[in-house]
Amino acid sequence: MQHNIYIYIFIMAAVSFVIRILPLTLIQKQIKSRFIRSFLYYVPYVTLSVMTFPAILYAGASQLSGALALLTGILLAYFNAGLFKVAVSCCLVVLLIGFIQ
């Protein structure tokens, strides 16, 4: 079955919106369950990690450049270079390796 792109967009927008405004409007109490709190706390790190690797290996021109971009990003982020620096450095690594290879 072929899906309508605007229905896809509507669903994405609606879910993104509701998840953000619920705690600000309806649920104004703290979530009590320790399990749910811990679960919600861990979700972002796990989901971003899962989406980053191994996808980054196939995003660059070669797996080598993707792997080096990953290492560079981890090192820079470890030493607290912000979002912009990390993102741009990863791009530069792929570009540079592309010229060498």
């Binding site: 709190r37 470890y78 912009f84 530069l92």
Partner: protein
């Protein structure tokens, strides 16, 4: 106009300007990253306008990227709803934290408008600001961040196929760079998170190597399973959450 009203007005204006000021570096970063997101949107078959619309309405890097992989795979509507929910689950937490900083009589309309653009960065600057939350500050930041994000995406879709392949492949890692910049600093402080990052990398690699599921479905299954296990084995104490 009384003197206090004048003072109040200029104070309000300066809060708004401060928001714009702090939003500019964020908007620049967004522009670069959303350009790379636009390339993903193009690969999923979206037009520049559709890419623009997604970014304008969703304001989410991981959530949009996950959505695009689902659209590319012609996934069911329920699947795209589920992955958007999971990839954006962290915003639920951020909004919870932000709501604690809001005055209890802050009108609903402000809660909704601010909530619309709770992102890692905008949440970060709003929560770091001292005192009671002022929606005008967030509006100032949103005024520059939203165009940066949505126009960058549109441009990524439009120009992505004009640029040389070498440049496109370099730019397409920007998004992962952004993800790395979000996960590594907390992993440095918290060993459990560092451990989870490694576990996630390894299991994601295994899933992808054996092509067990589509990329989006793997993300849903792995996120739910690993986070639930982690919550059972390493439940967090309140103090830790406040410190994080």
């Amino acid at each position: 106009m009384s003197n206090t009203t004048v003072q109040n007005f200029s104070y309000r204006r300066s809060v708004f300007t401060e928001g714009i000021h702090d939003g500019i570096p964020i908007a620049l970063g967004y522009f670069a990253v959303s350009f790379s997101l636009g390339i993903a949107a193009r690969n999923a078959g979206l037009s520049p306008f559709q890419g623009f619309l997604v970014s304008l309405l969703c304001n989410a890097s991981a959530g949009e990227y996950a959505g695009f992989t689902m659209i590319a795979a012609n996934a069911a509507y329920i699947q795209i709803a589920l992955i958007t929910l999971i990839a954006n689950a962290r915003y639920l937490l951020m909004s919870c934290a932000l709501s604690q900083k809001m005055s209890s009589d802050l009108p609903m309309i402000h809660r909704i408008l601010v909530g619309f653009d709770v992102t890692d960065e905008l949440f970060g600057i709003a929560i770091a600001r001292e005192g009671i939350f002022d929606p005008l500050y967030s509006y100032g930041a949103m005024l520059v961040a939203i165009p940066g994000w949505s126009l960058g995406t549109a441009l990524g879709v439009a120009v992505g196929n004009i640029l040389p392949v070498r440049i496109v492949s370099a730019l397409s890692v920007a998004l992962y760079g952004m993800f790395i910049a979000i996960i590594i600093p907390p992993a440095k402080k918290d060993k459990v998170i560092a451990f989870l990052v490694i576990i996630s990398f390894v299991s994601s690699y295994v899933f992808s190597y054996f092509h067990l599921f589509s990329e989006g479905t793997s993300t849903i299954i792995l996120t739910a399973a690993i986070s639930a296990l982690a919550a059972l084995i390493f439940p967090r104490k309140e103090e830790e959450e406040n410190a994080a």
